[in-house]
Symmetry: C2
Subunit: 172 residues, 2 copies
């Protein structure tokens, strides 16, 4: 008895994922359901997922592998670096003149930078950085980021305490 997440999947969509205009894959309801299962527990067995979404074990395995290969999702351990002990963490808001994308790429290349997002608002880019200590943090912000040609100004927000960190969109 399959619990059929998708009623019939008749003539709606023949591919579980295909390219759309912007080059990012569009996912069908089944893949979404699989991701949702793995957001609850990244180590959940394929057979259990299959039962939940109405697919065989092998089919789930196949889809998961494809989603990983495509880079649509990644299955990883996440922690709060501050809790884990060492390192200083901060969010940096950046204003750019000229090509925003190239600055974002430069930030992406830095190993201390964990998160880079282009935004609308009083910052062009938000970047989260994780460092060994205050000296390292200072160095990254002042010497590396501010030194990038095109960076007009930066503003830093040093993390004091992480209160919430979830990956459960879709589960509500």
């Amino acid at each position: 008895m399959h619990s059929d997440v998708v009623a019939s999947r008749s003539a709606d969509q023949r591919d579980s994922s295909r390219e759309s205009r912007n080059g990012t894959p569009t996912l069908d309801a089944v893949s979404l359901a699989i991701i949702q299962q793995l957001q609850e527990d990244g180590r959940r067995p394929y057979a259990a997922i299959g039962k939940a979404v109405g697919l065989s074990e092998a089919a789930v395995r196949q889809r998961v592998q494809k989603l990983l290969d495509q880079g649509v999702m990644q299955i990883v351990a996440v922690t709060d670096p501050l809790t884990v002990g060492f390192r200083r963490q901060a969010m940096v808001g950046i204003n750019v003149e000229g090509d925003v994308e190239s600055i974002a790429d430069a930030l992406t290349a830095m190993s201390e930078v964990e998160y880079v997002v282009m935004t609308a608002g009083s910052f062009d880019i938000l970047a989260e950085i994780v460092c060994e200590d205050d000296d390292h943090l200072l160095d990254v912000i002042n010497k590396r980021i501010r030194a990038l040609p095109g960076v007009r100004s930066t503003e830093s927000f040093v993390y004091l305490k992480l209160k919430k960190q979830t990956y459960m969109w879709g589960t509500r």
Copy 2:
């Protein structure tokens, strides 16, 4: 042949994790190494991790379970909601008068809020929110967050494009 991440682990620390002043567990080098392995691949078999950190399969399994139970880490699938298709995402900077922690707790309770961190700088709190669409986003920011007693002001940064998202601190 164990590749001994920890040279001898003699009399340094007798517990793999214990409470420190602030109530967060302090981790030893072995647990850190295990987390690092799982940051690379959340589904890596316990035996493989054991080989890498110099422990038996059962011991690794025991430690991983403990880390999960303690909430030190979680093993989950992560995606870029924007890539996955639907939903609008934004970072909101918040200024508070009075008790910052209680406001942070109120934000944590909202299902649309994925990430809450208390910071030093021109914002007291940074919160990342994921919404269905623009209307939903507007509603959360203006009706729910701004309505919280103690919230002095907010500033929003709507996400245009996620450029980087890693969980590899420690791997460099």
